[in-house]
């Protein structure tokens, strides 16, 4: 039986140190994947993931149990990664995102269109896809990763990025569209 994150936090605050280890083990794959998607450098992604959980530990007393744990965790992960990227002088493009016509993009969000079969014949498509993802803006990567991999709602992602839902939907739609375009025209594929 899987223990709920909130129960683990409560248990840790009650003095059970093992609970924090369980919390790390349970959430590390999601956090690492998220960080690596945002900043495609293995060594830095490892350091950033460590930093995220250190911040979680430092702020665990401030966590409000009424708050969604995933939202809280990924807000820390996102802020830590952005801070790291700023320190490393990796430009964060999010401020330059064009949020005009958000509603146009927000209307149809289901991506059912299959990609050309020839593309899927490539063995290392997933790796190449991870490379192509790096062409997206940090906010687009955040939205796509959290929605697809973490199955978070646009509302929850909006809390993580501190942006309205329509902007989040727009990032998602634009990101997928750009990714599709990149895949179809990428010479590496």
């Amino acid at each position: 039986m899987e223990i709920d994150d909130k129960e683990l936090i409560q248990s840790y605050l009650n003095g059970n140190e093992v609970s924090f280890s369980l919390l790390v083990k349970k959430n590390l794959p999601s956090v690492y994947n998220f960080v690596k998607r945002l900043y495609n450098n293995e060594s830095d992604a490892t350091d950033i993931s460590q930093e995220v959980f250190v911040k979680v530990w430092k702020n665990i007393h401030k966590y409000n149990p009424e708050q969604n744990f995933k939202t809280w965790l990924f807000t820390i992960a996102r802020n830590t990664t952005y801070d790291w990227m700023r320190k490393k002088k990796v430009f964060v493009f999010s401020d330059l995102n064009n949020v005009q016509n958000d509603e146009e993009f927000a209307d149809t969000l289901v991506d059912t269109e299959p990609l050309p079969d020839t593309i899927f014949e490539q063995k290392d498509l997933k790796n190449k896809l991870n490379t192509l993802i790096q062409t997206l803006t940090p906010d687009q990567k955040t939205v796509i990763t959290l929605h697809i991999n973490e199955e978070m709602t646009f509302e929850e992602i909006g809390i993580v990025l501190d942006k309205p839902q329509n902007t989040i939907k727009s990032h998602y739609r634009r990101g997928l569209a750009q990714l599709r375009k990149s895949i179809e025209s990428a010479p590496i594929l």
Binding site: F20, S21, V24, K25, L28, P29, Y32, N33, K36, R37, E42, A45, T46, S49, Q50, F53, V54, W57, K58, D111, T112, E113, P114, L115, F120, L125, K126, N127, L129, N130, I133, I144, I148, N149, L176, L179, R180, I183
Partner: protein, 130 residues
């Protein structure tokens, strides 16, 4: 197969041992925090202990000059007066007790006990094996 399902399956695998590294780092931070608290409470404990010793001499002198002992000895030797003049005796004892000196002594005692307990608690955390 659409783009979303490929993205879902192209999950980055966590490097081996990263969870252990994170837990170890947090445990080191816990120990550092415990060390800081241990020294902090240790210093408070030592200062309050010195204060307690100094103040206990002061308290002893105050009690001797206050006359509390005289009232007590009168009560012990003549119990029949207690039922007749208990109010007067009680007020006299209360008036003679050096409250400020006793309160200061008790405050120092509480600070000493609490800080000592906290210091010992953090010694346990600091030297607990990882």
């Amino acid at each position: 197969m659409n783009l979303e399902s490929i993205l879902k399956s192209s999950h980055h695998n966590t490097p081996e041992g990263l969870d252990v590294a994170i837990i170890s780092r947090v445990q080191i931070l816990i120990k550092r925090k415990a060390q800081r608290k241990m020294f902090g409470f240790g210093v408070i404990s030592a200062i309050s202990f010195v204060g307690l010793i100094t103040w206990s001499k002061n308290l002893w002198a105050s009690l001797q000059t206050s006359g509390v002992y005289d009232y007590m000895s009168v009560l012990a030797s003549n119990t029949s007066d207690l039922s007749l003049f208990w109010k007067e005796i009680l007020f006299s004892i209360l008036e003679s007790i050096p409250f400020i000196t006793i309160s200061t002594f008790l405050i120092l005692l509480v600070i000493f006990i609490m800080s000592s307990l906290k210091a010992v608690e953090n010694i346990g955390v600091k030297f607990k094996p990882i």
